[in-house]
């Protein structure tokens, strides 16, 4: 894993100096992250990077994980879908299962941190152990239109925290605690985002039988209805009428998500007669994902809902033109017609893709602007800075803080 000083050539010495200044201001504080899993999923991915980097900045950072059985995680998956506004009943029994496991965790998890930083709904009830230390709740989910029953249940816990953190302004509501906007980030030195030699990119294309002489449209995401992979194929088919192109739909296998297999089979069924559609299951294969993004002419992210949609930043960091839905955190990453194109429908997506494939100079400019925007706002160094400021804000309620 990259060391903190390896980011200096990408962001500059002055940015690194600021990070160290903040680290000094947090001396003596223990920051304890708590989430539900050490591997898999976006939260674990970012914590795996953030925790060692914060330590390098002299911030005493720990990471603990709660326990839960299959039933508990089925319930929290239901919570997740309900918070995204998807229909589906959450019963009293579900709440009871959630509370039973939460009580076990309250008993077993030592919340020793000066600042306890809880991620997502699974460990949210731990706040009942709150003592004189500070507690933060980080919501990584799109809660712009949540199921009210689940949201109200979670609110019983949220109000006990000192502050909450959301990824997009549209997720915020009037709540009686401070709430901050902190976008997630990408790691420019990770396998998913680092520079790759052309030979590696060509190797991956050959491996999957993808041609280099036809434009490539790609969506990287797990096979989930919220990512609308079927809508992506419909968009591609509309483009294909006018431009001979290829489509790559690539994403991780969804072992913990039975619905994922159903979506995957629907997608395969829809794609089966078209050799130019490549459905690729790439579990944990970050280098190949990186190569496919770099080989693409246009990146799509036609999600119906997004917690944030970091695949957009990943693509923009590679200076790729992106067409993406105007949902969740995507409009923070794309300023329409400056750093990408936003869309609201299958037709809108295909129109935008056609525009970009037909106007390579315009597409190139959007990609370049996008890379610059990501450099300034969505790299892990900005995320580290925001987290350290967040920790400091717990001790400073004022709007202008002199440190």
């Amino acid at each position: 894993m990259a060391k903190i000083e390896e980011y200096t050539p990408l962001v500059g010495q002055a940015v690194m100096d600021d990070l160290r200044l903040l680290g000094e201001r947090l001396k003596g504080k223990v920051i304890q992250h708590i989430n539900s899993t050490p591997v898999g999923g976006g939260v674990a991915e970012i914590l795996n990077r953030m925790v060692p980097l914060l330590r390098e900045l002299q911030v005493d950072t720990k990471w603990d994980v709660i326990k839960g059985g299959e039933q508990f995680f089925e319930v929290t998956k239901k919570f997740h879908n309900s918070l995204h506004g998807r229909p589906g009943e959450v019963s009293q029994r579900d709440f009871d299962i959630f509370m039973d496991t939460s009580r076990e965790n309250i008993k077993d998890v030592n919340t020793y941190g000066d600042i306890v930083f809880v991620h997502d709904p699974q460990p949210i009830a731990l706040v009942q152990k709150k003592d004189s230390n500070k507690w933060l709740w980080r919501c990584h989910v799109d809660v712009s239109n949540p199921n009210e029953k689940v949201w109200n249940f979670l609110m019983n816990f949220i109000v006990q925290y000192d502050s909450a953190v959301f990824s997009a302004p549209s997720f915020s509501r009037k709540i009686p605690i401070r709430q901050f906007l902190i976008s997630p980030s990408i790691d420019p030195l990770s396998d998913k985002n680092k520079e790759l030699p052309q030979e590696k990119i060509d190797f991956v294309l050959r491996k999957y039988g993808i041609e280099k002489n036809k434009p490539i449209i790609t969506q990287i995401s797990r096979f989930d209805r919220l990512k609308d992979p079927v809508g992506v194929i419909d968009s591609y088919l509309q483009v294909k009428k006018y431009i001979d192109c290829q489509l790559i739909l690539a994403g991780g296998a969804a072992n913990d998500d039975p619905e994922g297999f159903q979506v995957l089979s629907e997608v395969r069924e829809k794609a089966k007669n078209d050799p130019d559609i490549h459905i690729l299951l790439l579990p944990q294969n970050d280098i190949e994902v990186n190569a496919l993004q770099r080989a693409s002419d246009v990146i799509l992210q036609k999600s119906i809902k997004e917690g944030f949609g970091l695949t957009v930043s990943e693509a923009l960091w590679k200076a790729k033109p992106v067409v993406a839905s105007n949902v969740g955190g995507i409009p923070l990453q794309i300023k329409h017609k400056y750093s990408g194109l936003l869309c609201h429908s299958v037709e809108g997506a295909s129109f935008a893709v056609k525009q970009l494939l037909s106007s390579p100079e315009y597409a190139r400019k959007l990609g370049e602007n996008g890379r610059e925007h990501v450099k300034n706002n969505f790299l892990i160094t900005r995320h580290l800075r925001d987290y350290m400021l967040l920790f400091l804000s717990l001790y400073h309620p004022e709007d202008v803080v002199n440190l």
Partner: protein, 223 residues
């Protein structure tokens, strides 16, 4: 000559980092936007008139004004958007004055264009009010003369330049930007101070701003 002049008080560069604090307040019509502009904390007005400068450095000069961007892009009231974009922020020395100007501009427009009240933003396109929380941290860079000053300007973060030029004047309500204040009061070079305070920093990218100040200072040193 100024490069030989040692300051009576050194200049210590600070850096300014910020967090965005959500308020949960949102507007879908011009009327709601106006009501909220009148009542939200000054830190919100500051955020929505200055955020763009830092987040989209590479796109400036662009409207450093979220209200104008939303009114034009979402509500389609281009004329009002233009009036808001053209507010000369340099003329206002406090957030309160700036807030009053924005509010009266919208009010006057609504009087002349009552139909504009009927426009509303669709789901997902509402205006969300956000507060800017600033953290000001002194850096280790302390300078005593113009030569040292220009050398540090070359390597300091743009956040630091932003703080001393924009935030010190408007948010901390100082009479001028920090650089001009120091150059005039500690180096006694009023002419150079006036040159730096005499241009409109809102129409430049932060990197342009940095380069321009360095150029002016270096020219002064070489005289």
């Amino acid at each position: 000559m100024s490069e030989l002049t040692k300051a009576s008080q050194p200049f210590r560069f600070s850096t300014r980092l910020h967090l965005s604090e959500l308020t949960g307040l949102r507007a879908t019509t011009l009327g709601q936007l106006l009501d909220l502009i009148k009542e939200v904390p000054g830190a919100c007005i500051y955020h929505h008139t200055h955020r763009f400068l830092q987040q989209h450095q590479f796109l400036s000069p662009e409207p450093p004004n979220d209200f104008a961007y939303w009114i034009t892009g979402v509500l389609g009231e281009d004329e009002l958007g233009e009036r808001l974009v053209s507010i000369d922020i340099m003329q206002y020395s406090t957030i309160r004055q700036l807030r009053d100007k924005i509010a009266s501009t919208i009010e006057n427009y609504l009087k002349d264009n009552p139909l504009a009240k009927m426009r509303f933003a669709g789901t997902g396109e509402e205006f969300h009010f956000i507060k800017s929380v600033s953290f000001i941290i002194p850096t280790s860079y302390v300078v005593y003369d113009l030569k040292e000053f220009s050398q540090v300007l070359k390597k300091i973060t743009i956040e630091s330049i932003y703080f001393h030029i924009f935030e010190a004047r408007l948010r901390l309500e100082k009479p001028t930007n920090d650089f001009s204040y120091w150059i005039e009061n500690s180096l006694g070079d009023k002419e150079l101070a006036d040159r730096i305070s005499g241009f409109d920093p809102y129409t430049r990218t932060l990197e342009d701003l940095r380069n321009m100040i360095i150029r002016i200072v270096e020219k002064r040193i070489s005289v």
